[in-house]
Amino acid sequence: MELFLNRISDGLSNGATYALIAMALVMIFKATTLINFAQGEFAMFGGFIALVLATERGLPMWIAVVGAMAITAVLAAGFERTLIRPFDPSDHLPLVIITLGLFLGINALAGIIWRFDPRAFPELFPSGNALTWNTVTLSWYTIGTIVTVAVVAGGLTLLLNTTKIGLAFRAVSSNLESSELAGIKVGPTLQFGWAIAAAVGTLGVCVFVASPFRQLEPNVMVTGLIFAVSAAALGGLDSLGGAIAGGLAIGLVQSIGVPYLGIPSELSLLAAVAVLMLVLLFKPSGLFGTPQVERV
């Protein structure tokens, strides 16, 4: 029982970080029905920027993280303007290829600048345990990740529901052509989506590697992206709440399902991919997504 509770706590903290990256994917998918394969790499790059700001510029850690979020947001907005917008948004193949090119390029660039040796990331949350009951522990890290997800989710909800650009974003994601006719500038709105997504993803990676058991290196998000994608697909690719639910579910499957079913730990990725495949096969809209209707 105690082990079980500990595993739930592990699963929640993993799941919370998957949820953050999944939310970033969902932001872009909502607006453009595109999956940004480079999302994890944007976020990894942001993590390195935060590390550099904190260790080389001596900024306090949280300020460094916010600074990195701002920098990656600007970079992502620039990528959207120069690399994504020139293409027809309904033709996915060139866009997917562009994001794959960004994936390769950013991963290699980080490898060139920062090398592949793992680096310790300063802790964002107090170390130690908040609660201890027999052998059951609930670390500040777990609480911190969950609070971060809640804050991000709340902030995004406020941003989308109370601001003018948020309204424009919801209009564009609901119907691109009509919102264009209604006078909304579609390009900058989508750019805004990309920027927000990159910022949320950066926060996700910072929280992910702030765990005392993880380190930052350029390949940190290569498999993390797969978990996040499964989380987003499980929750429904166009639902922010679904991304959180999906992320937590994938995290729990990984930390509870995998050891109890006797599956070796390397296969937690397999579990995530199996979830992804089953969801897309039997309920392509996910748990909370809008079903796609196709007109012939």
Binding site: G101, T223, M277
Partner: protein, 424 residues
């Protein structure tokens, strides 16, 4: 052809066209011979103090990529199913043939008897999601498939077969048959005036070199067979069907094509080719290790396909060369004037490929091949075979030997043809 008229015109079915084709194949054969014998293993080009190796083993490695990309062309280029999982089948083929050759003492080529059907069946199974999942979602699922391959081969019950994290070493070479005078061939080339110095040292080849050349020849032949088979497939009825599926699924279904059959079959064919590529890869490298078959290799195959040209066969060949040589040459570039050294150490190859992929998508969406075709189109134009039915008139008997029909009677219909009157 709109701006300048090509200098050389060929009409399909004429002797001149045949000569043109034969000249093309002769050039290819000559190129293969030169690659096989020139420099052999020691060859390198030195530029700014960097030596770029041109060794034949790398060319053989690129052949393995070519065959895998060829498979990707079938499923993604011709059927329109974006699959990021080709690395899974590449790895599967590599491990199966490594196991058969190392532990069961099979020969490399006989291992294909197992590799091809197994990968084909795996591909059919992997193609099943493609029946319901489309476009981006399919890319996601197949990327997941590629990502789990390294963890799959570390499973406990597979360890005796795969060697786990240490990799599967195979110590089996291609021994050239004794009747093949490889030594004599290279010595003959060496004695040529002017260019002879590039071919060996006049003292024949060591055993190792002979094996490399022989492996290269075998793999070239295998790859040519694969290319020929795919080219026939694409031109035949199922090939037209899969292209119809790519261009418009609804209209293909309305016209009686079974979408599920053609999609799963093209996944099967693509995966079988991926397996063949894997076998070539491991036979050249001598070791199958999990680090080579991550999702990165699947993404590199996509890079190769796009850079070469989506939906073209020769694009697969170019793509294979690109993804084999660019990372390699990038890592041997250690100093370049104007660029700080620290930028040249590390994964510069990945950076170049990533940027190259984006640039190609912008500048040459049809890949390198479309550029080559555009340039070639300014010099050479191939006209389709004159349809005999037009000459004979409706209902009239069609001459069996169409190439004998003079072209000039068509002069009024097609102004381009009037220049070809002199031949035929």
């Amino acid at each position: 052809m709109a701006t300048t008229s090509p200098k050389f015109l060929f009409t399909e079915g004429t002797n001149r066209y045949r000569a043109y084709k034969i000249a093309g194949f002769a050039l290819l054969a000559l190129l293969i011979l030169i690659v096989a014998f020139a420099y052999n293993d020691t060859g390198s080009i030195t530029l700014f103090d960097n030596s770029y190796k041109l060794s034949i083993t790398r060319v053989t490695k690129s052949i393995s990529f070519m065959v895998a990309i060829l498979g990707l062309q079938v499923v993604a280029g011709f059927t329109g199913q974006l699959s990021l999982g080709q690395g899974f089948f590449f790895g599967t083929g590599a491990y199966i043939s490594a196991w058969l050759v190392a532990d069961q003492n099979w020969a490399w080529f006989t291992s294909l008897i197992v590799v091809v059907p197994v990968c084909f069946v795996f591909g059919l199974v992997a193609g099943i999601p493609a029946l319901r999942i489309r476009g981006l979602y399919l890319a996601l699922v197949t990327l997941g498939l590629a990502a789990i391959f390294p963890s799959l081969i570390k499973l406990d019950f597979l360890l005796p077969y795969t060697g786990g994290a240490a990799g599967k070493t195979v110590d089996s070479d291609f021994i050239p048959p004794s009747w093949l005078p490889l030594d004599g061939m290279i010595n003959a080339l060496h004695s040529l005036p002017l260019i002879g110095q590039y071919f060996g040292d006049g003292e024949g080849m060591s055993n190792k070199e002979e094996q490399r050349v022989w492996t290269f020849f075998m793999m070239v032949i295998l790859a040519l067979i694969c290319f020929k088979l795919v080219s026939n497939l694409i031109k035949s009825r199922p090939g037209r069907a899969i292209r119809a599926v790519r261009d418009n699924e609804t209209s293909a279904a309305v016209n009686g094509m079974s979408l599920s059959f053609h999609k799963t079959m093209s996944f099967g064919v693509a995966s079988a080719l991926g397996g063949v590529g894997g076998m070539i890869y491991v036979s050249e490298l001598g070791i199958a290790s999990e680090g080579d078959f991550t999702q990165l290799i699947s993404i590199l195959f996509i890079v190769g396909m796009v850079v070469g040209g989506v939906g073209t066969l020769s694009g697969a060949a170019i793509g294979g060369l690109v993804i084999a040589f660019i990372p390699d040459w990038a890592s041997s570039t250690q100093n370049l004037p104007g660029i700080p050294e620290r930028w040249l150490q590390g994964p510069t190859g990945g950076l170049i490929l990533g940027i190259g992929l984006i640039v190609i998508t912008f500048v040459l969406p049809g890949g390198v091949i479309s550029g080559v075709r555009k340039i070639r189109g300014r010099f050479v134009e191939v006209l389709p075979k004159t349809p005999a039915i037009q000459l004979a008139g409706a209902g009239a008997a069609v001459s069996a030997d169409e190439s004998d029909i003079p072209n000039d009677s068509l002069g009024s219909e097609s102004p381009d043809l009037s220049t070809t009157v002199d031949e035929s």
